[in-house]
Symmetry: C2
Subunit: 138 residues, 2 copies
Amino acid sequence: MTEIEKTLDNKSVRPTAMRILIYKFMAGKQNAVALTDIENAFEKAERTTLYRTLKTFEEKGIVHQIDDGTNISKFALCQPGCNCEIDQDLHLHFHCGQCDKTVCLTEHKIPHINLPAGYIAEDANLVIKGICDSCSDH
Amino acid sequence: MTEIEKTLDNKSVRPTAMRILIYKFMAGKQNAVALTDIENAFEKAERTTLYRTLKTFEEKGIVHQIDDGTNISKFALCQPGCNCEIDQDLHLHFHCGQCDKTVCLTEHKIPHINLPAGYIAEDANLVIKGICDSCSDH
DNA sequence: AGAGTGGTGCAACAGAAGTGCATTTAATGG
DNA sequence: CCATTAAATGCACTTCTGTTGCACCACTCT
């Protein structure tokens, strides 16, 4: 039983061949991936399978969904530092307008915001847009 | 020349009947609206017209586009406090998971974030998700 | 009046997201 | 080890948002 299989098993996700491949693919990427990215990487697989795999991964806390403002959902593997379930510990994301890549900045947390009376915060999403380190240094 | 016509004219947007109606509609709403919302409100109008009107409004700084994480673009009229063009003064938005409405919290600004070396911030988007004041008090 | 610009209406397309159903694959129990 | 069962996958199709091209209309300016 490989490391990845153990990880999936721990999250009570059955480690099928497809899922292991998708996990590997995402682990190899430094940036968040869209459904289409995975689709292009695995010409053989059906979009539906990938779609539902991501949904399952998300439900089980293996990946988290990122909304980077492009209106295309991206996904990234949850890291030890990324406590997606806990409200107060959400990290932020960076979207590069040049290479169009979105990365997690797990060490950067969203500051606490005092909301007006009556508003109850349950979740937060902070995306910084600009130029990433790969694109900025020439 | 009405107040609205003056506003549009100031932003060098020709105040057509359609545009005035759309402006009025948005001014009457407390929350951000999606293209579909306007479409439903004006059964007579074409989606394309509304679409391009919103685009024009956005370009001319009459409305700002909001990405609240639903993957559906919403729009809200720019307020005196909402300096959409200036990076450091971005306000945040609140999305209610119950009534699905998105509101601007113009008095709340996005705190400054120290990015890792090499990252250049140009824009930011912060959405708090939870229960709004209308939905929370029973 | 005629030319030109910009706005509007109509049709069609692209891409992402999502659903239903049949079939295959994997886990479980005798 | 096979049979049963539940879950995963593949295929087809639908829906919705966003977008573009083209023709027509309205208005302005000379």
